[in-house]
Amino acid sequence: MTTQDLGTYAKNTWCPGCGNFAILNSVKAVLKSMQDEGTPLENVVLVSGIGCHAKIVDYINVNSFYSIHGRVPPVAEGIKLANPNLKVIGFAGDGDAYGEGIEHLIFAAKRNIDITMIIHNNRVYGLTTGQYTPTSPLGFKGRSTPKGTIEMPINPLELMLASGATFLARGFSHGIEQLKKIFREAINHKGFALVDVLQVCVTFYNMYEYYDKRAYQLKDHNPQDYSEALNKIREWNYHDDSKIALGVFYKKETETFEQRLSSSKKEIIDASPDIQRIL
């Protein structure tokens, strides 16, 4: 199968130049290489929320659950717990994951459940045509904030680190080779992995030039070191015009939620005798 075959008949409706194409093509390439290395793609389930990002599941010909706004983590967690052999990859926008559904993200990280979350962070609501999101900078002028926002953005990676995520990285939609590398590593990571992708919305918030000037690759960084990871994550607060690091900030192997849960998986065909015993 070529990456071409991983597509579907669905017509792509993203704007030309949309940062989502970089994510789509990277994911397809990673899936293809996973398949080449012996992971049958039927073992993969993609989950998406609602927003421009979410259409990605229509464009990839593997199992998928096109869910609702903000709720990608609990759906992905349910699937993973029901069958821990599945590779579950969640896609969500910044409004979706960091706004509407932030509590789910925090708890999924807290549980260290083995799912991968890829956040299409364009720092603007695209599908609802241009409002500010939790990661828009202070003063962002959107359709709901014509005079500019009056609140600071959150730093999602800092929040995720504090919540217990065991794999944290940042990518950029101008850099498909790095995206592939990070996605692969995130998917292979055993535990909760989140990749914050600076995915540019060309229509409502075109940040290509801004990011191109400031983005740099993490070098000589030890992702096993919590403090070092925290320092690097704090270097840019999604508002100030500082340098923006790309790459893997944090990576730690520890027991997952499903490993702790799976102590008692007994297959029951007919529960009646056991019910009788209780009565």
Partner: protein
């Protein structure tokens, strides 16, 4: 009746008392009344025993067991002329008139250096003596009921037993004793019977005991029992389980269900089976958290945006809870729809006898599975609207579910023709489900001497209605399935009836409002909305007044 403060262990002791009477062959029902506090506040239980099956409480009681003065002060009206009372003479300063046993519980406990909570065991011991039960029988019951400090509990019970004297003698009956279950336990076991693999819930009275009970038996049945961050997460996680092929249920009350409605609608659109236990309590909003109501019938019927098929059942006792919970799970998977078990605090937390012989065979409902030969489409159009199911990982089948309108493969569409086809496909299931339900008993009918007049009830009200119906010779009609409503069975049940009195724990009458849609009108309503279920005397009086007033 046994009363004291929250934290005294009233609940556990009420169950032990129930088991004691049950062991003698009596049919038992336990009503629980407690405030929304952890310590303090008045808590009581009414334990009722009868030769016949019962599922309601009476206001007047034969015995009061008082662990404090407040119990006697608050429940004066329950005392019958010949009521007997056993009280803690270390606490109660103003005992009632009449036949009383004063037991110095705290003093007796000191003899054994026992914790204060064991005043319960001590007073149970005194009661056993007072009603002429052999200590060996009590000992057996205590051994089953208490897991901690059994020997000490037995010694304490013996002290109470020895301190009391026999007032009456309750003779054992020759009939076989039956297991005792709360409605919540019966719902839990019914779900397990129906093939439950995962129970996901956020604590909320009155559904929390299901979560606790299933968490305790999870290992025996290989269940995943999970308590996530919110009810929103609960239902979405359950849908994830179901997508991957594991039968899942969730349980909550009205407030938690408010948060679940977007997930419910997703279940309707994506055609993912889910069972929702909705334990009703008085609202709006926080309302009376630990009390009972029947006010979410229309909420369950109408919750969630859009139009989709749902199955709603309202069981009334332990057997119905068991049977219908199993059926709800099976039907949910057969039709790929959400199912509701409409319970309430009264059903969930009261204790009933469980008579397995009264439970019909649970009809086998196989889900429609993909044959793995034809090409797979998650939303393939079929005659009855049900598409073949399969679960990941599966070779040569790509399983796409979607909250957006979608085509047969699960890919998003906004085309008008596709939209129409898919909407019709999903709704088509209702007709087949309704036909199936008309073939099984979806409504209970209890004949009376006078079939001109009927009491109409649903859910936990059945027990009291059947008892009052028997006393007054009235027919009782109890629809168990609420949606799709068993119209044919209801028509037959109501055919000869001239007057219908609907009894409900709500302020507006939710069932009459529903039945009106099917063309049945002009019911007399007896409503109660103070959080407490009807007692037998109260309902009898109200029905009598109705009969007298309207001729």
């Amino acid at each position: 009746m046994l009363g004291g403060k929250a934290g005294f262990g009233i609940d556990r002791s009420a169950t032990a008392l129930g088991r004691l009477l049950n062991k003698l062959g009596y049919r038992v029902y336990i009503y629980r009344d407690y405030p929304s506090v952890i310590r303090g506040g008045h808590t009581f239980s009414i334990i009722r025993a009868s030769r016949e099956r019962i599922a309601a409480y009476k206001n007047k009681v034969d015995f009061i067991l008082a662990l404090n003065q407040e119990t006697l002060d608050l429940h004066k009206s329950r005392l019958k002329k010949d009521c007997m009372c056993i009280y803690d003479s270390d606490q109660v300063k103003v005992p009632p008139d009449g036949c009383c046993l004063a037991i110095p519980l705290s003093k007796l406990l000191k003899e054994e250096n026992a914790p204060e909570i064991m005043r319960n065991t001590c007073i149970i011991g005194a009661l056993a003596k007072a009603i002429g039960i052999d200590f060996v029988i009590l000992e057996e019951v205590l051994k089953k009921e208490f897991t901690k400090d059994i020997d000490l509990n037995i010694r304490i019970a013996k002290l109470g037993f020895n301190e009391a004297k026999e007032l009456i003698r309750i003779e054992p009956l020759s009939q076989k004793s039956l297991p005792l279950l709360t409605g919540n336990q019966a719902i839990a076991l019914g779900l397990v019977k129906g093939g439950l693999r995962a129970y996901i819930s956020y604590p909320m009275t009155p559904a929390s005991p299901i979560l606790h009970y299933l968490a305790n038996i999870a290992d025996d049945f290989g269940l995943d029992v999970i308590h996530p961050e919110s009810e929103i997460s609960v239902i979405l996680m359950a849908l994830g389980f179901a997508y991957a092929g594991k039968r899942a249920a969730v349980g909550t009350s009205g407030g938690g269900f408010c948060l679940m409605t977007e997930g419910l609608s997703l279940s309707g659109m994506a055609e993912i089976p889910i069972v929702i236990i909705l334990g009703q309590r008085p609202g709006p909003s926080t309302g009376l958290p630990t009390y009972s109501a029947q006010t979410e019938l229309h909420f369950a019927l109408n919750a969630g945006q859009g139009e989709f098929v749902r199955f709603i059942v309202a069981p009334a006792d332990a057997e119905e809870s068991y049977y219908w919970s199993a059926v709800a799970l099976e039907l949910s998977w057969k039709y790929q729809i959400p199912s509701f078990i409409l319970s309430d605090k009264e059903l969930g937390e009261s204790t009933f006898n469980f008579d397995a012989s009264r439970i019909g065979t649970i009809p086998e409902q196989k889900p429609f599975l993909w044959d793995k030969k034809s090409s797979y489409q998650r939303y393939k159009l079929t005659e009855n609207g049900v598409s073949p199911l399969t679960f990941p990982p599966v070779e040569n089948g790509i399983i796409k579910v979607n909250s957006y309108e979608h085509d047969e493969s699960g890919i998003t569409t906004e085309e008008p023709e596709q939209t129409t086809l898919m909407q019709e496909k999903r709704l088509r299931k209702e007709k087949f489900l309704a036909e199936e339900l008309e073939k099984i008993k979806a409504l209970n009918l209890y004949d009376g001497k006078n079939n001109d007049i009927a009491l109409l009830c649903w859910g936990s009200n059945k027990g009291v209605c059947v008892e009052v119906g028997q006393r007054l010779g009235l027919k009782v009609i109890q629809p168990v399935v609420i949606n799709p409503f068993p119209v044919r069975q209801f028509k037959e049940a109501i055919a000869e009836t001239k007057k219908v009195i609907c009894v409900e724990n709500s302020a507006t009458g939710q069932l009459p409002k529903l039945i009106k849609l099917y063309g049945f009108n002009s019911f007399i309503k007896i409503l109660k909305y103070d959080g407490r279920p009807f007692s037998v005397e109260e309902l009898e009086e109200k029905v009598r007044a109705c009969l007298a007033a309207r001729g």
